[in-house]
Subunit: 271 residues, 2 copies
Amino acid sequence: MTPPHPFDNAIHLDTIDGNVRRGRTHPEWANQVGPFGGITAAVMLRAIETQPDRIGEPLALTVNFTAPIADGDFDISLQAARTNRTNQHWIAELSQDGAVTTTATAVFGVRRGTWASTEAHPPTAPPPEQLIPGGPSPSDFIAWGRRYDMRFVEGAFPGEHAQPNRSSMSTLWMRDSAQRPVDYPALAALCDTFYPRVFLRRSGLIPSGTLSLTTYFHADQQQLDALGGDYVLGTAYANRFSGGYFDQSAQLWTRDRALLATSHQIVYFKG
Amino acid sequence: MTPPHPFDNAIHLDTIDGNVRRGRTHPEWANQVGPFGGITAAVMLRAIETQPDRIGEPLALTVNFTAPIADGDFDISLQAARTNRTNQHWIAELSQDGAVTTTATAVFGVRRGTWASTEAHPPTAPPPEQLIPGGPSPSDFIAWGRRYDMRFVEGAFPGEHAQPNRSSMSTLWMRDSAQRPVDYPALAALCDTFYPRVFLRRSGLIPSGTLSLTTYFHADQQQLDALGGDYVLGTAYANRFSGGYFDQSAQLWTRDRALLATSHQIVYFKG
């Protein structure tokens, strides 16, 4: 029997009652403190997907990282704040021993055939097969980095003797190391794989952490099915750093120029 | 006695108890259905500001528009999901007769002196004094449009014989018509003044509505004080339209190139 993929382990949830799911942290997804934020976003989204009365597909997810998650079990409580004909609004809270560590809101909705246009443009990049993984990478420092095959086009993780960069932009191809097919939880996690932009600007591991992460899901199920476990092209940049905080925005693209998701976050940093 | 400014009327709240504030809709801020989303975002943020145990200034606000708000009173319930040393996470719900119409999460935090850099660039625009307000505008259709003096640089509200645009970008100077000084609630409202980008691409009033709006506040109080009631330069664009939904992102700048806020939303549309 093939052992389950680490991502499936991480988003596995037990039903405690109609509105509560229980999950647990996994060492494969550890960050410097607590789990990788992307896996927390994924498990919050997955919890809503397990609700039998859920309507449609994910459109938007906001996750607020309120406190570190300790190793061990956690409970996710779910509340459908509003159910409309074609969309549904959710509130979720992840807690450990009664203390909230993560809050989230999500919008799910039914996708319909409409006029469509992708106005944004993917970044220019050679195919992933022409890029060699290597050089300094998050996987040298954190367990979850090894869950992804990352091939940087620009803005690679700063090495020991890196100089400060004038640009905070990173562009990279990435895929799940075991090529697990991308579903909505996996897409939510991929949107948070971009290391804090302040590392690039200040050329080092500046203490920092995401406070709030918002992702808009543009891909429909058919596009995810076509993607499978292939590489996605990600790009991320920051707009402004000040007062100990900065924002960063990201886009995820397929090889054939489909925009899968846009994602934004606000991050605190020291120094 | 000078009558209160319409914005101050709209964000006025009565304290019902420690965690509940009562407000009401005002015809000056009416949209086609219910109030202008920006004024709802503003009043949610204001409600948190009235909490005596609130820490710091707004960093992030996500507002989910779950159902239309009817004319009349509404209650906003507040919960501090987590209080840390230098930041605080809030959950808020706006309800009428016990039914939730709006949910929100917010992050407040203390700003500190740190390394700072604005990496984004403001759009090119002549000064607002060189632009003449006029032409078709939201104020021809909706009451709240008259609360703002809007001077478009590009991407003006499409008129009767407008052709579809290839770009969804609008850039405009805008200020409160009565030059009320900009505070955080006013900044939250300004971020939602950009009409739905699908109007520009499809050259018409396509039925549409914001589902979820996230704003990151970059300005500190000193920058808001310096701005006062002056014009801000706003720019907004969409990334992808598909399946009946699209995202749009916006930036607000001062004359002296300070990035006050970045804001993102997902919008449903028909057709």
